[in-house]
C-alpha cells in the first residue's frame, strides 16, 4: 500500500467522506462508477414496468400516485447520474453503455408487470428490497453518492408505503383482487430476494467494497432482514406465503426461507429474462427517436448564445 492509499483508507476508516477532487484509487473510482451507474440505469429502466400500467390505472388517484412515483424515479436517476459525473464520466457515456449492454441494471426490471397488483407489489417488495440496500449506503464513503442516497431513501420509503397500501386494498378486495395480489406476490417474491445478489460467499468483489464502505452489509444479511420484515406483512395481508420453506427459526431468531434459483438469476443477467430484450429495445428506441430533439435543443442554445454574443 502506498502512502496515498493508506491515507485514503484512513479517511474512510474515520468516516471522512471522499469528495470528487480528492485522490482515490482507480479501482475505487471504477467500482463506484459501475455501482452508481447501474443504480441510475435501474431507476430509468424501472420506469418501464410501472409505465406499463400508468395508462391502465384503475382510478384517478392511483394514476396520480403512480405518475408521482415514476417522476421521482426519473429524478433519482438524475441525482445518480450527477453523482457518477463527479467521477469523470458523462451521462451520455454511461447511457450508451446501458444501451449497448456493457452496463447492467437491476434484473428485477426484466420481469413483467402482469396485473394491477404487480404495481403494488413492486412498491412494496421491490422498493422494499431496494431500501434495504440503500439505507446503509447513506453512510457510504463517497460524498456525492452518500448525499444522493439520503435524498433517495426518503422518497423510496414513501413509495414503499404507497405500494403496500395498494396491495392491501387488493388483498382486502374482491376474490379476484385478492387473487391478483397473491399472483403478484408469488411471481415477484424470488426475484425480489435475488435483488440482494448471490450469497457473499460466492462474490469476489465484496471484501474490497466493504473495506471501502461502498458496500456496508453482506448480501445475505440484507436478504435475511428483508425476509424478516416482509413475512409478517404478508401474514397481515392475509396472503399465502409464496415459499413453503418460510418458517420462523427460534434458534436463529430469523425466518428460514428457500434460497432463490440462482441459475434463473444468472440466466436473466445473461439476457434471458422475460423482458430483457423489450426493455433495452424500448430504451434504445427512446434514445434514437430522441436524437433530433437533443440535437435541436443544442443547436438552439448555440444560436442563442451566438446572438447574445453578437449583440454585445
Amino acid at each position: 500500500m502506498t502512502d496515498q492509499e493508506r491515507e485514503f483508507q484512513d479517511k474512510i476508516d474515520r468516516d471522512i467522506k471522499i469528495e470528487p477532487k480528492d485522490w482515490m484509487p482507480d479501482d475505487y473510482r471504477a467500482t463506484l462508477i459501475r455501482q452508481i451507474g447501474q443504480h441510475a440505469h435501474s431507476e430509468i429502466v424501472g420506469q418501464l414496468p410501472e409505465g406499463n400500467w400508468i395508462t391502465r390505472a384503475p382510478t384517478l388517484e392511483r394514476k396520480a400516485i403512480l405518475l408521482a412515483k415514476v417522476q421521482d424515479e426519473a429524478g433519482h436517476g438524475l441525482y445518480l447520474y450527477c453523482a457518477a459525473e463527479t467521477l469523470g464520466v458523462t451521462r451520455d457515456e454511461i447511457t450508451e453503455m446501458l444501451l449497448d449492454g456493457r452496463m447492467k441494471y437491476s434484473s428485477i426490471f426484466n420481469y413483467p408487470t402482469l396485473n394491477w397488483a404487480d404495481i403494488g407489489a413492486v412498491g412494496w417488495l421491490v422498493d422494499g428490497a431496494a431500501i434495504m440496500n440503500q439505507v446503509p449506503l447513506q453512510r457510504t464513503s463517497y460524498g456525492p453518492y452518500s448525499r444522493a442516497m439520503i435524498r433517495i431513501c426518503k422518497e423510496e420509503s414513501f413509495h414503499q408505503r404507497q405500494g403496500y397500501d395498494a396491495i392491501r386494498k387488493m388483498a382486502e378486495g374482491s376474490p379476484e383482487q385478492k387473487k391478483m395480489a397473491q399472483d403478484a406476490l408469488n411471481r415477484l417474491w424470488f426475484p425480489s430476494l435475488m435483488m440482494f445478489g448471490p450469497s457473499d460467499k460466492d462474490s469476489v468483489h465484496s471484501a474490497q467494497s466493504m473495506a471501502w464502505k461502498i458496500k456496508i452489509n453482506t448480501n445475505d444479511e440484507l436478504r435475511q432482514k428483508f425476509v424478516d420484515q416482509t413475512v409478517p406483512q404478508i401474514e397481515f395481508l392475509g396472503l399465502d406465503l409464496p415459499d413453503p420453506g418460510i418458517k420462523w427459526n427460534e434458534e436463529r431468531g430469523h425466518y428460514d426461507y428457500t434460497d432463490p434459483d440462482w441459475s434463473e438469476f444468472f440466466n436473466v443477467i445473461k439476457g434471458n429474462g422475460p423482458c430483457n430484450v423489450d426493455r433495452l429495445a424500448a430504451r434504445n428506441k427512446a434514445w434514437d427517436d430522441g436524437e433530433w430533439v437533443r440535437d435541436g435543443l443544442l443547436e438552439h442554445a448555440r444560436k442563442k448564445a451566438a446572438r447574445k454574443h453578437a449583440a454585445e
Binding site: Q47, R56, P58, R62, K63, A74, A166, S174, D295, H300
Partner: protein, 255 residues
C-alpha cells in the same frame, strides 16, 4: 341553482375535466420513452398536474350531477360520445415535437381560460382555477420554451415542428367555439364566452411561434365535435379502451 343552469354547469365542468383527463392520459403514455431524462420528469409532472386537476373538475361535476357518482365513475364508465374534451387533446402523441406542440397550443388556451375562471362567480370553479393556473403557467412556460427551442433548432427539428403545427392547427379553432352552454355560463358569470379568448390567444401564440421561426397555416378551418360530443376522432375510442379496461373488467371494486 335552476335546473337548466345545473345541466349547463355540468357540461361546462365536463369540458374542463375531460380536457385535462384526456390530455393527461396522452402525456402519461410517454412514461419512460422520452428523448432525455429531464423530459421524462417534466412530462410525468405535467400529466400528474392534469390528472390532479381532473380530480377537481370531475369531482365537482359529480357533485353537481347529484347522482351519487364519483369523479372515477365519470372518468372510467362513460363511452366516447359522453366525453366533452376538445379534439386537440385526444390527437395522438406522434413524435416528441407533435406532443409538445399540442401541449403548447392547449397550454396557451388553458392559461388564458383559467385566468378568467379565477374570477368566476362560482366559488368552487374559482378555487380550482386558482390552483390549476399556477401549474399551467409552468406548463406553458416549458412547452413554449421547447417549441421555440425545437422550431429554432436544426433544420430537421424545425421541419418536424412545422409539420406538427400544420397537423394540429385545424384543431385550435374548436377551443373558441360557443354554444348555449357557454352562453348560460357567461350569463351566470361562471365562465366566459370562449370566443372572447381568441385575441389574447392569437397574440400569445403568434409571438411564440414567431420566435420559433414557424409559420401559422393560413386556413382558419377548424375541426369540431369534441366539446359537444357529436363527433370525436377515431383516436378517442382506442384511448378509452386502454384507460377504462380495468374498472370495466372488475366493476364495483375498490382500488
Amino acid at each position: 341553482m335552476a335546473e337548466v343552469d345545473k345541466q349547463a354547469l355540468l357540461q361546462f365542468l365536463l369540458r374542463m375535466g375531460d380536457n385535462t383527463l384526456i390530455l393527461g392520459h396522452r402525456v402519461s403514455e410517454w412514461c419512460g420513452h422520452s428523448p432525455v431524462l429531464e423530459e421524462d420528469i417534466a412530462l410525468a409532472n405535467t400529466a400528474l398536474d392534469l390528472i390532479g386537476q381532473t380530480q377537481l373538475w370531475l369531482g365537482y361535476a359529480a357533485e353537481v350531477q347529484g347522482e351519487g357518482k364519483t369523479a372515477d365513475d365519470i372518468a372510467f364508465l362513460r363511452d366516447a360520445w359522453d366525453f366533452r374534451n376538445v379534439l386537440l387533446v385526444e390527437m395522438p402523441n406522434g413524435d416528441f415535437g407533435q406532443t409538445l406542440m399540442r401541449q403548447f397550443l392547449f397550454d396557451a388556451w388553458h392559461s388564458i381560460m383559467l385566468g378568467r375562471l379565477m374570477k368566476s362567480s362560482d366559488k368552487t370553479v374559482a378555487e380550482i382555477a386558482e390552483k390549476a393556473s399556477k401549474e399551467v403557467a409552468y406548463h406553458l412556460e416549458r412547452s413554449a420554451d421547447t417549441v421555440v427551442g425545437l422550431g429554432d433548432g436544426t433544420e430537421e427539428s424545425h421541419s418536424r415542428m412545422q409539420a406538427a403545427l400544420d397537423y394540429l392547427w385545424p384543431y385550435v379553432g374548436e377551443m373558441f367555439e360557443s354554444d348555449d352552454v357557454d352562453d348560460a355560463m357567461a350569463a351566470a358569470g361562471i365562465s366566459v364566452d370562449p370566443a372572447s379568448l381568441r385575441e389574447d390567444y392569437d397574440a400569445l401564440v403568434c409571438k411564440i411561434l414567431s420566435d420559433a421561426t414557424l409559420t401559422i397555416p393560413e386556413s382558419r378551418f377548424a375541426h369540431k365535435g369534441g366539446r359537444t360530443g357529436y363527433m370525436h376522432t377515431e383516436h378517442l375510442g382506442h384511448l378509452l379502451a386502454t384507460m377504462q379496461w380495468l374498472p370495466r373488467a372488475y366493476p364495483g371494486c375498490q382500488w
